[in-house]
């Protein structure tokens, strides 16, 4: 299935896959961003640059815009699609981590019908999802969470490189200024995006002091067992995940405070 081609064409070029048929789906009417009360519907063929440039999205769901800005290089952002990123399911990619943090739902269609799947259940392994061979993702439904502060932090080996670790954090405050809701997810620390409920638990209902953030980051870190590869060790990933989590929470809180 060819959408943006930014991942598929290198795969074909390196002969990592040799399909008999490639179906170009770019003409399908899946390129819209629909903004309703509290929800944002993003068509599978929405390009990364659209996420970056949409003024409406920047108001309603700014974490998506910030994540999109970090993806690849400018050429990837011209053609790469939301659906493509989610279906390709690179464990280090930003959008899978964002939809995991947000608790989004993916809309899936096939000849036999339609269904939706929670983002947190969609990714099952490295480059693997629950998608059946005859299914396509038509869009993703995202809670706007415009009252939340948000942040995306990532660390890579070089500018524009894929992330060694990425963290997505959203936080909202109640009237007392305590944490009302928190969403945290990681990319790059496992074989799929990792939701961090332990961190969220450590924040809910609490006063957002530096200690609280540090404890939440530590809870998140302790739940991780990232793999090592030829370039980066699991221990380093784990350590960085903790640091970036704390920083992402701090930035998200700053954005949440004015309310």
């Amino acid at each position: 299935m060819l959408a943006g081609g930014q991942s598929l064409i290198p795969i074909l070029h390196y002969r990592l896959a040799r399909p008999r048929v490639v179906i170009d789906i770019n003409a399908l009417p899946l390129g819209d961003i629909a903004l309703d009360d509290g929800r944002v519907g993003i068509g599978a063929l929405v390009r990364y640059h659209q996420l970056e440039e949409s003024a409406e999205l920047a108001r309603r769901c700014p974490v998506l815009a910030e994540a999109a800005r970090l993806i690849g290089n400018v050429r990837v952002r011209t053609l790469g699609t939301v659906g493509g990123s989610l279906v390709h399911a690179d464990p280090a990619a930003e959008l899978p981590a964002v939809v995991t943090a947000l608790g989004a739902r993916l809309a899936i269609a096939s000849a036999s019908g339609r269904r939706t799947v929670a983002a947190r259940e969609f990714f099952t392994g490295p480059l693997t999802t629950v998608l059946a061979p005859d299914e396509i993702v038509t869009g993703v439904d995202v809670p706007a969470m415009s009252a939340h502060g948000w942040a995306v932090e990532e660390l890579s080996r070089r500018a524009g490189d894929f992330a060694i670790v990425a963290v997505v954090a959203l936080v909202s405050l109640d009237r007392r200024g305590h944490v009302d809701d928190a969403r945290v997810a990681f990319g790059g620390v496992g074989d799929r995006p990792v939701h961090a409920p332990a961190a969220e638990e450590a924040l809910r209902g609490r006063e957002p002091t530096a200690e609280t953030l540090a404890r939440a980051a530590q809870a998140a870190r302790e739940a991780l067992d990232p793999p090592s590869d030829a370039f980066v060790s699991g221990a380093y990933r784990r350590h960085v995940a903790g640091v970036l989590c704390r920083r992402a929470l701090a930035r998200a809180l700053e954005r949440a405070r004015p309310r």
């Binding site: 060819l2 074909l12 770019n26 003409a27 290089n73 050429r75 990837v76 053609l79």
Partner: protein, 153 residues
Amino acid sequence: MIARLVLNGRPRDVDVRPNQTLLELLRDTLGIFDVKEGCDEGVCGVCTVLLDGRPVSACLVLAAGLRGRAVLTLRGLERNGGLHPLQEAFIRHGAVQCGFCTPGMLLTTLAFLAREPRPDREAIRAALEGNLCRCTGYTKIVDAVEAYVRGHA
């Protein structure tokens, strides 16, 4: 299959293999060498062309999927046989050594400046992050773009 595109202002219909990329169409079929081949996986930027005004890696676009869209390569910048002022700025500021990254740098810069006409040096560097250069160390490329911005913004 037929690839339909508007290439540097001219509509073209070209017979292509289904798996033929835009880069292969330009270089191998049409003999247009102002787009280079550097890595074939969209990382280096030397195959940058503008698709409806936005930079893409020609090595990652299937020609048959173009559907009449506009493609601009460097020769599309020519005005009456003369150089674009940004090209003149590159020459004047020594921003060209081996020249292999130059077409991609120029097109990416022009697309960027169309959206952000008054960038500072840091923004210029961020905009060119996806175009690798191995010879110049980037300083004179940023000098050239900055000078062009000063003269034309």
